[in-house]
Amino acid sequence: MKELLLIVVPLVAAAGAALWPHDRTRPWFLPAAGLAHSLLAFWLLFHPPAVPFHPWLGYDPLARAMLPAVSLLFLGCAAYGVPYLRLRAERPNRVFVAGLLAALGLMSAAHMARHLGLLWIATEAVTLSSVPLLHFNNTPRAFEATWKYLLVGGTGIALSLLGSFCLGYASLHGGGAGDLTFAALMAQGTGLSRPWVLIAWVLLLVGYGTKMGLAPMHTWKPDAYGEAPGIVGAMLAGGVTTVAFTAVLRVRAVVEAAGAGGVASRTLLVIGLFSTLVAALFLLSARDFKRMLAYSSVEHMGILSFGAALGGVGLWAAFFHVWNNSMTKGALFLSAGNLRRAAGGRTIDEVSGMSVITPRSAALFVAGLFAVTACPPFGPFFSELLIVKSAFATGHGWGAAFFLVCLLLAFFGLTRVVFAIVYGRPRTAARKMDPRFRETLAVIVPPVVLLLLSLGLGLATPDVLREAWTAAVRQLSPTP
């Protein structure tokens, strides 16, 4: 029953926020619901329910391995959201706050969905609820980004529905009774019709891969991340992508049970490496530091997909990396939001010398850069090291070498942009600075906490998380 609260609490808060009459106090709904959600998610992490709540929906090991990370990220963003929305008092925030809370509830639902159709509905609903978040800034550029997001994301989600139907037909063709829960599909195993399973895998990978932002379906990402407020960027990069990754993993478990695991692993491997390569190349030419973060997100989705392709230890490391990705992306997007607000520009042509203007945010941004490019002792270093180790152990030496080259290129690209904006002489930007912006504690503490969490995850990974990830790996591949 408690797992239902994970969905209900944010949705009720969203309804409350939509009805709340005062713009000034409405943002407090965000941290309140975020705190309740986190407490609940972590309580369930430590005391997992023995049996899933319902065959269609439940806090199973996979949800347990992922959802608390998203919840924690949301709490960080929510705490940042209060001072941020006070700064943007000129924009009505009713739809924004309600949309953000609804997105949290639907993301919980999508993580816990154990049914093919329910998973699709929840993912589609997450997509729709994030549309108003993207055009919060109300500029023509924000509309353009939203339109692209809707069109590319909508087509992707339509293809994943077609894939879901194909998987359903595979089950029907194999003599199944049409039970579309993942447990039933996995139990049917090789009874599923192979051609239909393969078609379904391709369509679902393309569909949910679009949401995840795997190259070449990543085209909406830079626009959306570049134009959306920092909190939304962080939630998209750390939350929505995690939902899509969970979906891909659930589908892959079915494909593997149907005896096509080799094909699935190969496609994931290729698409993962391709994403890291594309991201690395674009990072080398990026000039805008918010779009840069989007390409970095594409890179990390590639890393996740590479890790998942390796299976076993690699998959375990991918779960580890999901947590690291959520925390570091949160810290980066929030500090980038600070820089953007203080500088009034976003490209390296307009912005420089941020270490003088906003020393704390700039320091945070640089620290976040080292975290996201997997420098020790931050968490991503350990998870990526584990992925590379498992790649060598499973005989993917060339893949690992290619992967490392891409990471190196991405590192060059990221450091180039970051140091260009942080150091140098402060420049008067093309647009006027926001005079109200101050580096108060309220906008510095949330990203600092997220970054410290990433550090802590790397240095001392809690045993309960290790155990949760192992359980999730076991759920996805019952016979290792």
Binding site: V131, T146, T155, F165, Y169, G178, S285
Partner: protein, 201 residues
């Protein structure tokens, strides 16, 4: 299936919307034709589909078209003749592909799978090949129609919840799109997505 070709060949916005609406109506009646015995669930699904795809969504699109005061011609990125030829080729490909796929005996004789694949291809073609926001929405509708047609194969086994969710999401999607169309109109004074090219590398 012939409707797909009309959709590709048409040069005017209202007729494109009419084609999408007609296709939605036909789709709504399909479950009644396929089912041999009439059950309440099937009836409800059919009625809901006809209402949504055939009436509500086209009405919304027309309203968007009228309020935005768009001129009625379509400016294709892929010309009408090439898109017709591509559509026809896609249709042949869909029939051939449907023949080669393993199907249950009761679905083997019908053109359901072929029609569904052809619609999906047409929808994608319209999405890529037309530059106006509303015609892209129509393309998306035809894509969704194809997917829905495929979903009819599973109508025995998929519970109502999934079907209901699909309809609901479709409407909401168009709703949201409609709002955005409205905003694009105000911000750019045009519904031509070719002008949405500020954001690029």
């Amino acid at each position: 299936m012939g409707l797909n070709l009309v959709a590709l060949g048409t040069s005017r916005l209202p007729s494109l919307i009419r084609v999408a609406a007609l296709q939605g109506m036909v789709l709504g009646i399909m479950p009644l034709v396929i089912e041999h015995e009439l059950r309440l669930m099937v009836l409800v699904i059919a009625a809901a589909t006809v209402a949504m795809k055939g009436l509500v969504i086209p009405a919304l699109l027309r309203r968007a078209m009228r309020t935005a005061n768009i001129d009625r011609d379509l400016y294709p990125l892929i010309g009408f003749l090439p898109s017709l030829l591509l559509g026809a080729a896609g249709m042949i490909g869909a029939v051939v592909l449907a023949r080669r796929l393993p199907l249950l005996p009761e679905h083997r004789e019908s053109l359901l799978v072929a029609g569904a694949l052809a619609s999906v291809l047409t929808g994608l073609l319209l999405l890529i090949g037309r530059s106006k926001a509303i015609s892209q929405v129509c393309g998306y509708l035809i894509l969704e129609n194809g997917i829905y047609l495929f979903g009819l194969l599973l109508i025995h086994s998929t519970p109502l919840l999934v079907e209901g969710g699909i309809l609901l999401d479709l409407t909401v999607a168009v709703f949201v799109t409609g709002i955005i169309v409205d905003r694009i109109q105000r911000a750019f004074d045009s519904l031509d997505t070719r002008k949405l090219t500020v954001l690029r590398e």
